[in-house]
Symmetry: C2
Subunit: 587 residues, 2 copies
C-alpha cells in the first residue's frame, strides 16, 4: 500500500507567504482565519487522511462497491470511516456557519481536497458532490429548500449528487430526455434514466439529495428547455425528518477501470417527487455553478494523486538498488536508483509540476473567494472572469499531468509498479477518470477557446496576460534569468492567443483543432507564473529558511529548463491549421 | 468487446512497394517468398486472429490465469485455441525448415506479430517467448541440444521462457544469485529463484523449456560470471520423449494491472538439471540474441495494440453523436463526433503514428534479415549496427506512443471508455506492461546513448543520418514540402547527436539525463523517414490507386504538421543539461 504524508510545509508556505491578492486580503469574513488556526486544521486534516482514510483506497479497490438486492453497499471500512469523518466536521469545512459550516475559505479547503484526493479518491467522492450540491442549493434554491436541506448536507448526514448524463447525452445536455411534470401543489414528478451518477446510491448517509436536470413537459427542446430539480432519495417530511422512499431505484452500478470503491450508478426516476431550483428552463445556469467549482476540484484530484505518486516514487528510488551510476563510488554492487540521472530527472519533473500546480491553485483559490465575496461588484466580476478562464485549464492540465506522473511513478517502480501489491498501478487507474468526468478534457479545451478567452466583459485572456506581465516584472537580479525565459514563453502565449482570436473570425475549425494545444500552452505558462511568485518570495526571504528556499529555487529551475519548453511545441503543432484534418476522408 | 480487422491492405502495400533494401532483395533464401504467397498467409493470419484469438482477450481479463495446487491454469478457451493455433503451424512461421519451420522472413512474421498483439497480447505471450528461445538455442546451443529441442518448440508442442529477473536484480543482472553446480556428466544443477517469468508455467504445452541465466559456482561475481542454461520443466529422455519432472516449482503468479490471461510466475529452481548453452560466463551475450529480437517484438506489441485502439475509436466516432460542429448542417440534434475537429485531430494523430511505425518496422525487418542472412560479412555487420541502433527506439517509442494512443482511445469513448463493458480500458492496461518489460524504456534509452550510437565499427548514428539524408534527397516536386521540413528536424537530430557525443567526453550525467529525450527525437525523425519512403511511392504510383495514396499523403501531412514538431521540444528540454538535476537534494 502506498504511504502518504500530507505536504504541510508547502501548504503552510503558500498560506503564509503567497496570500498576495490585495482583494482577497480585504475580505472581511476571513480576517480571523489566522495562520495558527489554519495550521491546526491542516494538522488534523493530515492525521485523518494519513491514518483513517488512506487504507480505504486499497480496501475499495479490492472490494468494490456492490449492488445487492437493490441496495448499494460501500466497501468494508467506509461506513465507520465516514461516521468519524462527519463527526469531526470535515464535510462542513467550507460551508456557511448559517447552516452549521465552519466558514473556511478555499485557500484552506483546497488543501483539504488535495489531501483527501491523495488518500482515497473513491472515498472522497461520497462527500465531494455533497459540497457541489450545497453550493448549488445555496446559490439558487428558495430559502425554504435551503433551510430544509442544507444543515443536514453540511453535517454530512445527507449527501448529494449531480444527475446530468443520460445514455445518449453526455457532453451534449440538449439531448436529454428526462421529463418533469408539474403537479398541482407546485412540485414536479420526474421520470427518466440517469447514468454515470457518482455516489448515486450508497449506505453512508440517511438520505441522498439528487440534483437532477430534466425537461418540463411544456418546455422547449434543446438546452433552452432544461430545468434543475432537487429530488431526494427519501421524501423529507415537514418537520425535516426522513419520510417514505421516493420513486428512484438503482438500475445497476458500473464496473470500472478504477475508483472501484465509488459507486457509479444508473438511476431510474419513476414519478419521483422533485422541487424546482432556480428559474424554469434556466437549469443549466444553476448547474454550472456547481460544475465550475467542481471542475476545479477535479483538477485538485489530479494534483493530490500526483503528490502521493511522487512521494512513493521518491521513497522507492531511495531504497531500490539497480545498476551503477556514471560517477559511482560503489566498488561492489549497485547504486540506489535515486543516484541515476534519468530517475532524478523523472522525480524532478513530478515535483516541479506538483509544486507549481499547488501554487497556481492557491492563486486561483484567492481569486475564487474574491469572485464570490468581495463587496465591489467590479472586483468580483474581474476575479470571476479569471476563475472562469482558469477553470478548464486547471481541470485539464492537472488531470492530464496526473496521468503523466502516475505513469512515470509506475515506470520508476518497474515490474513491481505493474503488480497489484504496491498499489502504484491503482493510482494510475484511479486518476484515469479525472480527464473524463465533469466534462472531458477536450470539452474543457473547447470551453476555454470558445467561451472563456473573451466574454461580455471584454478580452479576458489579454487582461490575464497583462496581469501576469505586470506581476512578473521584478527587479531582483537573481530572478532575472527566470523572468527572461518566462517572457519568451509569455510571448508565445500572446502570439498563440492572437492566432486563436484571428481564426475565430475566419475558421472556427482551426480553433477547435488547436484547442487542446492552446490549453496546454496557457497551462504551462500559468504554472510558470505561479513559480515566479514562489521564486520572488524565495529570493526575498531566503535567509529565513535557506534549505526550503534552495529546494524551491532548484525545483523552479527544473520547471523552466525542462517542462516549460513544451509550451512552444504545442504552439508550433497547432498553427499548421485544420484544413487537412477537416478534409480527411476517414474510411 | 473491441472489434478488429487486420490491416491487410497496408501490410501488402508495404510488402509489395517498400521492399527497397537492395541487400535484402539479394537474399537467396527468400527469393520464393512471393506477394501471392504472403497474401495467402496474411489472409489466413487475419482469420485466426479476428475469429479465434480476439475473444481470448476479454476471456483472459475476466478469468485470469490461476495457480491451483501447484498447477497453472490458463483462462477458459486458451487450450482449445492454442491447439488449433499450433495445428495451423503459426508457431513455425519464421523458423528454419530444418526443424520443421516455414522459413518466412521477418518482413512477413512481423505482420503476424502485430496482428496477434492486436487480438490478444496475453495469448500471444504463450508462444512469443518460444520464438525467443528458438532463436537463442538455434544461434548458441550445441547441435545435440538443437536437434533434441528445436523441432518440438517449432511445432509448438513445447514452449519456451526467458528466466532473467530475480528479486534484487531486474535491470542489473550482475547482481544475480541463482547458482549452477557442475555435475560429473557435464550437466549442471540449477538452484535459485526467478521472478516475473512470462509463461513460466501453464497448461498449454507438454513441456516448457526455460532459458535460465545463473552463475556457475566457480565463476566470478558481476556480469562476467553469468552463464546460460537450458532447463526443461520435464527432463527429456534420450529418445526425445518427455520424462520425469525436473526440480522446478511455481511459487506464485502475479496479480497484475493487465495481461491477466498471461501467467507471470515466480519459479523456484531446486537442483534442477540444466544444460549449458554457449560458452561458460558468456551467458549474457547469448541471452542478448534473444533479448534484442524480443525487444523489437515488444515494440510491435505497442503497434498492434495501437491499431486495435484506433480501429475502435474510429468506429465509435462514426456512431456516437454529441454536440454540434462549427459548420453543422444538422437542424435538430447532434452531429457524429467524427465531424468534430478535435476528435479528427486525435484520430489522425493515432493513424499517422501507427502507419509511420508500421513502415519503419518494415524497413527494420529488412535490415534484420540482412543482418542475419546476407553472405557478405560487411553488409551483415552494417545492417546489424542499424538494427542495434533502432532496437531500443522501436521498443520504447512504439510502446510509449501505444500508451498515448490507448489513452486517447479511452478519451474518445468518454465515460464508456472507463467502464469494463467496451474493453477499451483493457487495451490501456494490457499495453501498460510494454514500456516496462524486456528492459524499461529508460534502460532502452541508456542502452541507445551509451552503447548504440557508436561502437567498434565506428559512428553508427552518423552512418544512419547519412543513409536517411541520401534516401530522402528526392527529386519529385510534390515531395519537396515534406523533405524540406524533414531536413529541419534531421538537422536537430544531427545537432542533438553532436551534443551527446560532446557530453559523452565531458559529463556523462548530461547524457544520462538527456537519454529519454534523445530517443524520442531519434524516434520521431525515424518515423518521418519511413513516411518519406511511403510518400515517394505514393506520388510515383499515384494513378494506380488514387484513394489509397491520397489517404497516405494526407496522413503523412498530419504527421509532419502535428507530430514531428515534438522532436524539437525534446532537444530543447534536454540541452539544458544535468547539473541542477544531479546536485538536487531530495529530502
Amino acid at each position: 500500500m502506498p504511504s502518504y504524508t500530507a505536504p504541510l510545509e508547502d501548504m503552510m508556505f503558500l498560506f503564509e507567504k503567497l496570500r498576495d491578492n490585495k482583494n482577497y486580503n480585504e475580505l472581511e469574513k476571513y480576517k480571523e482565519v489566522s495562520s495558527d488556526l489554519v495550521k491546526d486544521i491542516l494538522e488534523e486534516a493530515a492525521k485523518i487522511n494519513q491514518n483513517l482514510i488512506l487504507p480505504l483506497a486499497k480496501a475499495g479497490d479490492e472490494n468494490p462497491a456492490v449492488l445487492e438486492n437493490g441496495v448499494v453497499r460501500t466497501p468494508p471500512g467506509y461506513k465507520e470511516a465516514y461516521k468519524k469523518y462527519i463527526e469531526d466536521g470535515w464535510t462542513s469545512l467550507s460551508c456557511d456557519p448559517k447552516y452549521g459550516g465552519q466558514g473556511m475559505p478555499k485557500t484552506v479547503s483546497a488543501f483539504f481536497d488535495e489531501m483527501l484526493s491523495s488518500a482515497s479518491l473513491s472515498f472522497k467522492l461520497y462527500s465531494e458532490l455533497s459540497i457541489g450540491a450545497y453550493n448549488c442549493i445555496n446559490h439558487h434554491a428558495s430559502d425554504e429548500l435551503k433551510e430544509k436541506y442544507l444543515p443536514k448536507i453540511v453535517e454530512g448526514k445527507w449527501s448529494g449528487t449531480m444527475c446530468l448524463t443520460e445514455p445518449v447525452c453526455g457532453t451534449d445536455l440538449g439531448l436529454l430526455k428526462t421529463k418533469a411534470e408539474k403537479q398541482k401543489d407546485g412540485t414536479y414528478k420526474i421520470s427518466g434514466q440517469k447514468i454515470f451518477i457518482t455516489s448515486g446510491d450508497h449506505d453512508l448517509t440517511e438520505n441522498i439529495i439528487h440534483l437532477v436536470i430534466a425537461r418540463a413537459t411544456d418546455s422547449p427542446t434543446g438546452t433552452k428547455g432544461i430545468s434543475l430539480f432537487l429530488v431526494p432519495k427519501f421524501v423529507v417530511n415537514e418537520d425535516g425528518s426522513v419520510g417514505p422512499r421516493n420513486g428512484i431505484s438503482t438500475g445497476s452500478i458500473e464496473s470500472k477501470m478504477g475508483i472501484k470503491g465509488s459507486a457509479t450508478c444508473v438511476l431510474n426516476f419513476d414519478d419521483a417527487i422533485g422541487y424546482m431550483i432556480g428559474k424554469k428552463d434556466k437549469g443549466l445556469n444553476a448547474m454550472f455553478t456547481m460544475m465550475n467549482l467542481e471542475r476545479i476540484v477535479v483538477g485538485i484530484q489530479g494534483l493530490g494523486i500526483s503528490e502521493i505518486a511522487y512521494q512513493n516514487s521518491l521513497a522507492y528510488a531511495k531504497e531500490r538498488k539497480q545498476g551503477k551510476t556514471n560517477k559511482t563510488k560503489s566498488t561492489n554492487g549497485a547504486d540506489f536508483i535515486i543516484e541515476h540521472a534519468d530517475i532524478r530527472r523523472s522525480l524532478l519533473n513530478m515535483k516541479s509540476i506538483i509544486e507549481g500546480e499547488r501554487a497556481l491553485c492557491f492563486w486561483l483559490s484567492q481569486q475564487t473567494e474574491v469572485s464570490l465575496n468581495h463587496q465591489d461588484e467590479k472586483v468580483r466580476q474581474e476575479a470571476s472572469d479569471f476563475v472562469s478562464l482558469m477553470t478548464p485549464v486547471v481541470k485539464s492540465l492537472f488531470t492530464d499531468l496526473g496521468m503523466e506522473i502516475t505513469n512515470d511513478a509506475m515506470q520508476i517502480h518497474g515490474g513491481y509498479g505493474y503488480t497489484k501489491d504496491q498499489g502504484i498501478e491503482q493510482l494510475y487507474r484511479d486518476n484515469r477518470i479525472t480527464p473524463i468526468y465533469e466534462g472531458t478534457n477536450s470539452v474543457q479545451a473547447a470551453d476555454l477557446v470558445f467561451r472563456k478567452l473573451s466574454n461580455k466583459n471584454g478580452d479576458i485572456i489579454n487582461k490575464f496576460i497583462d496581469l501576469i506581465k505586470t506581476e512578473t516584472d521584478l527587479k531582483n537580479e537573481k530572478i532575472k534569468p527566470f523572468t527572461k525565459e518566462f517572457s519568451f514563453y509569455l510571448n508565445i502565449l500572446t502570439k498563440f492567443s492572437e492566432w486563436i482570436n484571428e481564426k475565430m473570425k475566419t475558421d472556427k475549425d482551426d480553433v477547435s483543432a488547436a484547442a487542446n494545444d492552446y490549453l496546454k500552452t496557457l497551462g504551462f505558462v500559468s504554472v510558470a507564473y505561479a513559480w515566479i511568485k514562489v521564486l520572488d518570495v524565495s529570493f526575498k526571504d531566503y535567509n529565513e529558511n535557506k534549505n526550503f528556499f534552495d529546494d524551491k529555487i532548484n525545483t523552479a529551475k527544473f520547471y523552466f529548463d525542462k517542462v516549460l519548453p513544451r509550451a512552444e511545441q504545442h504552439y508550433k503543432s497547432a498553427i499548421s491549421g485544420s484544413s487537412n484534418i477537416m478534409n480527411f476522408k476517414f474510411n
